[in-house]
């Protein structure tokens, strides 16, 4: 490991504690580490560690470069990173101080906020009375309003926050357009800055001049398709810039029944989706890997027991098992409110257990695949050689079999990710998913059930949840494709 690697590792691992420290000093806040937060940090640390390890292993480095060499893979990675960053910012939790008691004693708010909540305070606090359409300045339904002169009129009242800065409602469209353009321009500016930074870094590494580096990136003459990453980033930044500017004055995706900003909900749901998609895998992986490889290598009664286990498990309908477990958990939590300091902790624990349950029901497929691959590998000469050299079975499993099935693990993990994000939506819709108080796309879709049935239709909750989920799942699937192409030995490597 060289020095740069150490610095990167230290930075990445040190980031959450530093953030907490800063918050504690700057805001007098009390850090809260939820279960899922801790596991997410662990996952980030593990991924970072793996990246550093892969950089030193030439075979791994080459295959990963093959993933990134595909323009779509690169684009998908940029989108996924954006989601990931959002999810991480939303995973730094703390409780703000509310009042200073006597003797310097500090009381903290009952509600724990995340760093993202803090950044999106206007969105979070800009609560309207009820439904309003995207970018509207008036409510979605007519109300009886008492005028100053005492007359009562039924009209669409102005919103409390959406477009409140406009004195003249006729300037609404112009203002929206101006804000969108200005935001887009800001985004584009950041994109240009990113481009220049990239050109600078490439120029330094390859000893090119700035102009040459910039030209090569634009013409696609770099080994990795930076142009693809840059194009994706530009689109993202322009959209984000416009949305940020608009969100300053309007509800970009409207508001829901109780007047909460839908954009805020959709953004908060990103973390839920990511956690379900990644932590479930983390829970499932040890089962699948250890049991699958053991079944394949030891054969005999070990194989029989493991096979029995997973055939039994996979013949129970998954939803049934999940529903039963979640309902039991719900009852337990309802009977023991003293276990949880805040509402968020309760919701978080439910999310965590949902991951565990999903994990326990979904390891069978991967396990079966790993068993098959191990059956093939155990007959390889290098395994025989290791036995002849007197290696213990544990060492053979760890050094010879596991590294050679990891490509299957990786492929199935990235392929499963999008499936799990969708599974969350379905489960929450059915009512056995995450806590109703937790923001998630599933919950948004669930509430949209009634909104779609009313006349005029309230479509924006569903549209927001759908589009955010769609982009994430699409990016994950494209990335999975690239990973599979690079890692699957059956695909010819060019």
């Amino acid at each position: 490991m060289d020095r740069v690697d150490f610095v990167t590792l230290a930075l990445l691992l040190g980031l959450p504690p530093t953030l907490f420290a800063l918050l504690a000093v700057g805001l007098d806040a009390k850090p809260v580490i939820l279960w899922t937060d801790a596991l997410l940090y662990l996952l980030v640390a593990a991924v970072t560690g793996f990246v550093l390890y892969a950089r030193r292993r030439q075979d791994l480095r080459d295959t990963w470069r093959a993933v990134l060499r595909r323009p779509l893979g690169m684009a998908a990675l940029v989108v996924l990173s954006a989601y990931g960053a959002l999810g991480l910012v939303d995973s730094v939790h703390f409780r703000l101080p509310v009042s200073q008691g006597e003797g310097g004693e500090v009381h903290y708010a009952g509600e724990s906020l995340s760093l993202f909540d803090l950044m999106a305070t206007p969105l979070r606090e800009g609560v309207e009375k009820t439904y309003s359409a995207p970018l509207a300045i008036t409510a979605f339904v007519k109300e009886t309003v008492e005028r100053a002169d005492g007359t009562r009129v039924r009209e669409y009242p102005r919103l409390r926050y959406g477009g409140a800065h406009l004195d003249d409602p006729s300037r609404h469209r112009a203002d929206v357009a101006a804000r969108a353009l200005w935001g887009a321009a800001q985004g584009a500016l950041v994109a240009v800055a990113a481009f220049l930074l990239l050109a600078f870094l490439l120029a330094r590494r390859h000893g090119w001049s700035w102009a040459e580096a910039a030209g090569r990136v634009l013409r696609g003459e770099t080994t990795l398709p930076w142009w693809s990453a840059l194009a994706t980033l530009t689109v993202l930044l322009v959209l984000a810039g416009a949305v940020v500017q608009l969100a300053g004055g309007y509800h970009v995706f409207g508001t829901d029944k109780v007047g909460n900003d839908v954009l805020y909900q959709a953004l908060k749901s990103v973390r839920t989706g990511l956690i379900i998609g990644t932590l479930t895998t983390l829970v499932m992986l040890p089962f699948a890997l250890v049991l699958g490889v053991m079944a394949g290598y030891f054969r005999g009664w070990v194989d029989d027991v493991i096979q029995y286990l997973y055939t039994t498990l996979s013949s129970i309908p998954g939803v049934l098992l999940i529903a039963a477990a979640v309902l039991m958990l719900q009852v337990y939590m309802a009977n023991h409110p003293e276990l949880f300091e805040t509402e968020a902790e309760r919701a978080d624990l439910r999310l965590f257990f949902l991951c565990v349950i999903l994990g326990i029901t979904s390891w069978t497929g991967l396990c079966r695949m790993l068993r098959g691959e191990t059956l093939k590998l155990r007959e390889m000469d290098y395994v025989t050689a290791a036995r002849a050299l007197g290696r213990r079975p544990g060492a053979i499993l760890a050094r010879h079999l596991t590294p050679n099935v990891l490509h299957i693990v990786l492929i199935s993990v990235v392929l499963d990710f999008s499936g799990l994000v969708l599974a969350e939506a379905v489960l929450s819709y059915v009512g056995v998913g995450v806590d109703p108080s937790m923001h998630s796309w599933g919950n948004m879709i669930n509430s949209a059930r009634l909104e779609m049935a009313r006349e005029p239709m309230v479509w924006w909750s569903l549209a927001a949840a759908f589009s955010f989920m769609f982009v994430l799942v699409l990016a994950a699937n494209l990335f999975a494709d690239a990973v599979r192409d690079a890692f699957d030995p059956r695909h010819a490597r060019n």
């Binding site: 292993r57 030439q58 075979d59 390889m380 000469d381 290098y382 025989t384 050689a385 290791a386 036995r387 002849a388 050299l389 007197g390 290696r391 213990r392 060492a395 050094r399 010879h400 590294p403 050679n404």
Partner: protein, 678 residues
């Protein structure tokens, strides 16, 4: 081939003319010309052998003639079949040539047949496509074809699936398929490489007969000089995409003019080269050989002159041969040293004959049976008698070769000795310790004294480990080193010992060639300082010149360290070169054992005799080939009595009744055959 046919065909215009054939693939920003300006001529009724080591472009030449190249390949030059330029034909017309006028058979009969179609259906496809035969007529023709390629009971076989046939049968079916279109030219790409020697002899004889009967031209692609000597009328040797020598067989065998050809012949292990190192060709084929300005072989040539590196030699006619070498060019010949006399056989190194007193390894009554279990309760319904009573002994510093065809149980014997498969019965004593009863930690510690080298250099190393980790595996498992530094030093030492530079230890296996990989595997085995190494066909996946390097290395290690080898092989020339003693196995039992020289020179058991005679040899001179019919029986249901009786030309009634007892022939030789009883 008889002289009458040859003279008749000489006057005709050639059937196939290849001029300046060049096949190039896109590679790393440019092109790699894998076939570079090949000229060939084939007459009707002629067998033309294209010889060379792997990667020399011989198979690619065949695929280019048929235009069966992967996308992206560029094809240049001229291929004329009876005057018509094949390279100019549209693809649709080319499809009418493939299978009809030119047919091809491939090396691997297992993968060349479609497993879900019956044999008859697959041949019928050819008949339908090219001759428009259907229904009854087609079926009759298929039966005829199957009979013609010597498949017994064609009426039954026609409706069978490929998996029901043995390897030799499958290759026969492939030949029948190729013949179905009644081709004028048959291209055979290593047709017998995947087959056992006795089966190889059958298939080669079949090809010869069919060719004679039909007057077909045969383009035979092979790496086996023995097959060439037996089959070919004319020979072309390829090296790095070019033909370096072309000659009639007689001339080719008598005067090997190109230095590469000469070296190839000298690298062949033979009994008369015992005790002396084999000639090797240093280095390997350069990877971008088409960019070399001079002679492509110059880097590895023992007589190369400065001239060779500057200019590329042309294919020069020399006394009826054509040779691509400046040494035969009268203008330059004076600059070269006169070629050394054709390999001189010297006396074997004396002193290697004495019998060591105490054997290091003693195996007696070794049996390995694999139960076949069926049904819910896994009841044993039968057994595979893989190894069924084997006795042997090896002394320190000696080599025992275990010879036999595939499926005879020789690999299982090796694994059972190492306790990688637990024997069903019998004893394996190593240095006065009974290995079969050792368990757990004791066995694990003992393992360092017995090591293993495999056949396939590609699957014998974990692709995700670096060379250092691979070689050091035994050191770690046996706790023979204390820290990382010591480990690296020891690995470097081992790599040097097997002839590799220590710097390679940070690389991955895929960066090495087959021969280098085999060296690494030997280093891995040596790491734990073993006393016995079981070599399971260590050279059969390698080219002749590389095989010579590995054999030399093994011989040298034996001399230096007093290693004992159990050398499992099907290659009798290697046995003659390397082994002190030989044991011949047939269907789980040793049928003959004794000093290698004696057994090979004068085999006694009918099976050994057939085996020895079936090996295609380079030397000329008529020798009787004892032809075995049929395939070895299945080890699930071995025939009663002598296992070899069903194929034995001398079988008597009593052979079917009881397995013959051991008959000692003196000088440590014995045989299990009734012919020598009483």
């Amino acid at each position: 081939m008889s002289a009458a046919i040859e003279s008749a065909t000489d006057s005709e215009s050639p059937l196939l003319t290849v001029r300046g054939l060049t096949t190039a693939f896109p590679a790393g920003g440019g092109e790699l010309r894998v076939v570079d300006g090949v000229d060939l001529e084939l007459r009707r009724g002629e067998t033309f052998a294209l010889v060379g080591e792997s990667g020399c472009g011989k198979s690619m030449t065949a695929f280019s003639i048929l235009r069966l190249l992967p996308a992206g390949a560029r094809l240049d030059g001229e291929v004329r079949l009876d005057g018509a330029d094949l390279l100019a034909l549209p693809e649709a017309a080319m499809r009418r040539v493939r299978g009809r006028r030119i047919a091809m058979i491939f090396q691997e009969p297992m993968t060349s047949l479609n497993p879900v179609l019956t044999v008859g259906r697959q041949i019928q496809e050819v008949l339908e496509r090219h001759l428009g035969l259907r229904g009854r007529v087609a079926r009759e023709r298929i039966l005829e074809l199957l009979a013609e390629v010597g498949i017994p009971d064609p009426g039954k076989r026609i409706d069978e699936y490929p998996h029901q046939l043995s390897g030799g049968m499958k290759q026969r079916v492939m030949i029948a398929m190729a013949l179905a279109g009644e081709p004028e030219l048959l291209i055979a790409d290593e047709p017998t490489t995947a087959l056992d020697v006795t089966i190889q002899a059958q298939v080669l004889r079949l090809l010869q007969r069919l060719q004679r009967e039909r007057g077909m031209a045969l383009l035979l692609i092979t790496h086996d000089l023995g097959v060439v000597a037996q089959m070919a009328d004319r020979v072309a040797v390829m090296y790095a995409g070019q033909v370096v020598e072309e000659a009639r067989r007689e001339d080719f065998l008598r005067h090997r003019r190109h230095p590469y050809t000469r070296r190839l012949f000298q690298a062949l292990p033979e009994a008369r080269r015992r005790g002396q190192p084999l000639a090797t060709i240093p280095g390997s084929v350069p990877s971008r050989f088409d960019r070399i300005p001079g002679c492509r072989f110059a880097e590895r040539c023992d007589i190369a002159q400065p001239l060779c590196r500057e200019r590329a030699p042309e294919l020069l006619p020399v006394a009826g041969q054509r040779v691509r070498c400046f040494a035969v060019d009268p203008r330059f010949a004076a600059r070269f040293p006169s070629p050394p006399a054709l390999d001189v056989a010297t006396e074997a190194v004396p002193g290697s004959r004495q019998q060591a007193a105490t054997p290091l390894l003693e195996v007696s009554g070794l049996k390995v049976h694999f139960p076949i279990r069926r049904g819910l309760l896994k009841r044993e319904v039968g057994r595979v008698y893989a190894v069924d009573g084997v006795d042997m002994a090896i002394a320190a510093g000696r080599t025992l070769a275990l010879v036999g065809e595939s499926g005879c149980g020789k690999t299982t014997v090796g694994k059972a000795i190492l306790q990688l498969i637990r024997p069903t019965a019998g004893s394996v004593r190593f240095d006065d310790t009974e290995l079969t009863t050792l368990k757990g930690e004791a066995l694990r510690r003992r393992r360092r004294e017995l090591q293993l080298v495999f056949q396939d250099p590609f699957s014998s190393m974990n692709p995700r480990m670096r060379v250092e980790e691979i070689v050091a595996e035994g050191l770690i498992a046996q706790k023979m080193v204390r820290d990382r530094r010591e480990r690296r030093e020891r690995v470097a030492e081992l790599l040097r010992q097997v002839g590799l530079r220590p710097e390679v230890m940070d690389r991955y296996p895929h960066e090495f060639s087959g021969g280098q990989r085999q060296r690494i595997c030997i280093a891995r085995a040596l790491a734990v300082s073993p006393r016995l190494i079981v070599c399971d066909e260590p050279t059969s996946a390698l080219d002749v010149s590389v095989q010579a390097q590995i054999l030399n290395l093994l011989a040298e290690l034996q001399r230096e360290m007093g290693l004992a080898y159990l050398f499992i092989t099907h290659n009798l020339s290697v046995v003659g070169y390397l082994a002190h003693e030989v044991a011949v196995m047939y269907l789980g039992r040793v049928v003959e054992q004794g000093p290698a020289e004696a057994v090979l020179a004068d085999p006694r058991h009918p099976y050994t005799q057939a085996l020895v005679s079936a090996v295609p040899r380079v030397e000329e001179g008529g020798r009787e080939v004892i032809r075995l019919e049929g395939d070895p029986p299945s080890p699930i249901a071995p025939p009663p009595g002598c296992h070899f009786a069903p194929r034995c030309p001398w079988a008597e009634a009593r052979c079917q009744e009881a397995y013959p007892p051991v008959t000692a022939l003196g000088e440590g030789r014995w045989v299990r055959c009734f012919l020598y009883g009483d």
